[in-house]
Symmetry: C2
Subunit: 310 residues, 2 copies
Amino acid sequence: MPSAATITFHSNSPPAASAVLAYLNGQYLPRSAATIPVEDRGFIFGDGVYEVWRVVNGRLFETDRHLSRLAFGLGELRIAAPDIVRRQVLDEVAERLLAESGLTVGEATLYVEITRGVAPRTHQFPPAGTAPTVFATVNRFVPPNDVRARGASAITAPDVRWLRCDIKTIQLLPNVMAKQAAAERGAIEAIMIRDGMVTEGSHANVVGVLNGEIRTHPLDNLILPGITRAIVLEIAQTLSIPVREEAFAEGDIARLDECFLAGTTSDVMPIVRVNDRPIGSGTPGPITMRLFNGFRAHLDASCSAVPAPA
Amino acid sequence: MPSAATITFHSNSPPAASAVLAYLNGQYLPRSAATIPVEDRGFIFGDGVYEVWRVVNGRLFETDRHLSRLAFGLGELRIAAPDIVRRQVLDEVAERLLAESGLTVGEATLYVEITRGVAPRTHQFPPAGTAPTVFATVNRFVPPNDVRARGASAITAPDVRWLRCDIKTIQLLPNVMAKQAAAERGAIEAIMIRDGMVTEGSHANVVGVLNGEIRTHPLDNLILPGITRAIVLEIAQTLSIPVREEAFAEGDIARLDECFLAGTTSDVMPIVRVNDRPIGSGTPGPITMRLFNGFRAHLDASCSAVPAPA
């Protein structure tokens, strides 16, 4: 069972804590020294949003799409957008975090979380003017290429999440429980099922190939509008692979020709077994690997085409 | 509109921050100085549970029922129960927090939150042995008797929460949004509607009186098993008031004879208007007030009957 590989795949492999820098409300400090007040609404209510960027050689991938999704979430939650939602500020913060954490060469991730700030506990919003909490940090990232080469396993799990999965909030307990259930079965992801239909995974979108068509849940309140998902669907169109954004049923899983995850830390990850039964040939499928290769080329081109920060 | 009263009702009216003590992982310190690492899973994933106790003259109300619910939640989330889930430890922590915060006379609340602890961010559980985070604090509480005397307003709102509302987790963002919507309309609570049926409020259970029967959503995965709810239903039985634990429809709200909230900081709170339309006579109903009086007598008797901590 690929349990050791699973762990490698899902950790963001943080370097020694002392080496990693955090940004917290305008201050830079070692992450191990970064603390928030107990009355932060992130800690009390899960009242916040987050984003994770892929970083290659110090350059953020798809900065604007992630910022746009972050701004959408803040708007839905009615949290006043802090400065970090401006591209220039984000770039400055990212540059310093990456540089001082020794992550300007190779792959990394940037994590940004914004909560509704610190206030005495009461469900309704705190007084106007309460400053949101802004936390950012970086981690070394090792693409799970060994797992990709042989394909990964997934399980299915009931989708018990709330009905605003389109907002990237820190309400992640159901995702935590689903991911743990997967890990305990040597799988890297839980494919979530709501009302008999496949929605998405605990931390990535799920895409199937069925009867020669790419099938994935449409964008609505039940899934996160994944940025990797969007790019992969764009690439499929350039490759003239038919795409249908229509959910497929749990019962269709056994009939899939191919299946893969699309996500910021998954890239395109072939799923070759679901609940211990093979998908298609039981090896990474040709459409999946064409899409992975197209995605990886786009990732590398994007991160080398963007001028380095001055 | 009762907006000022609403604010009074919902704040836990914290004294000056410097006066209030917090308990954090075995340490006592001013709440304003209590901080948690940014990598606490409460802050990153909303991965934790909490409880709120009513306190009268330094004595906790229904200690064991709340501890039992807390232990249930920890079990469902598979967080190892820390010492504070033992009654003796909880009593010791509460006693010191209340004494040093000047809250041994009159009414107060005790808040306890337990998260899965501090670890590098990855959805699945952290390594075995990762210590849960334990935070507790106290607040002055002023029962909302003025609002109760005239009755309160509520709104209805879609219930978009996850499907494990029976666990008292810190996944409270939908509750935050619903409560805020209520507050902006001068109401104290949002009555949540799922699939056309009344589930509960954002921070209290909802009970109706319909055709002479007490009606409230049954205990299942869609509502919190409220301790005030349970006591009120017990009192109703002693008063020979028929109780039917069966959900009523959104469309039934207009036909209710009476409506009230049941919760730790609501006690029994008459709801006399929903979406600006009167319930019954538009004043606190007789069954509601009998139940409130019975509940209040039980609360006072419980807290005076228990021997004070040595």
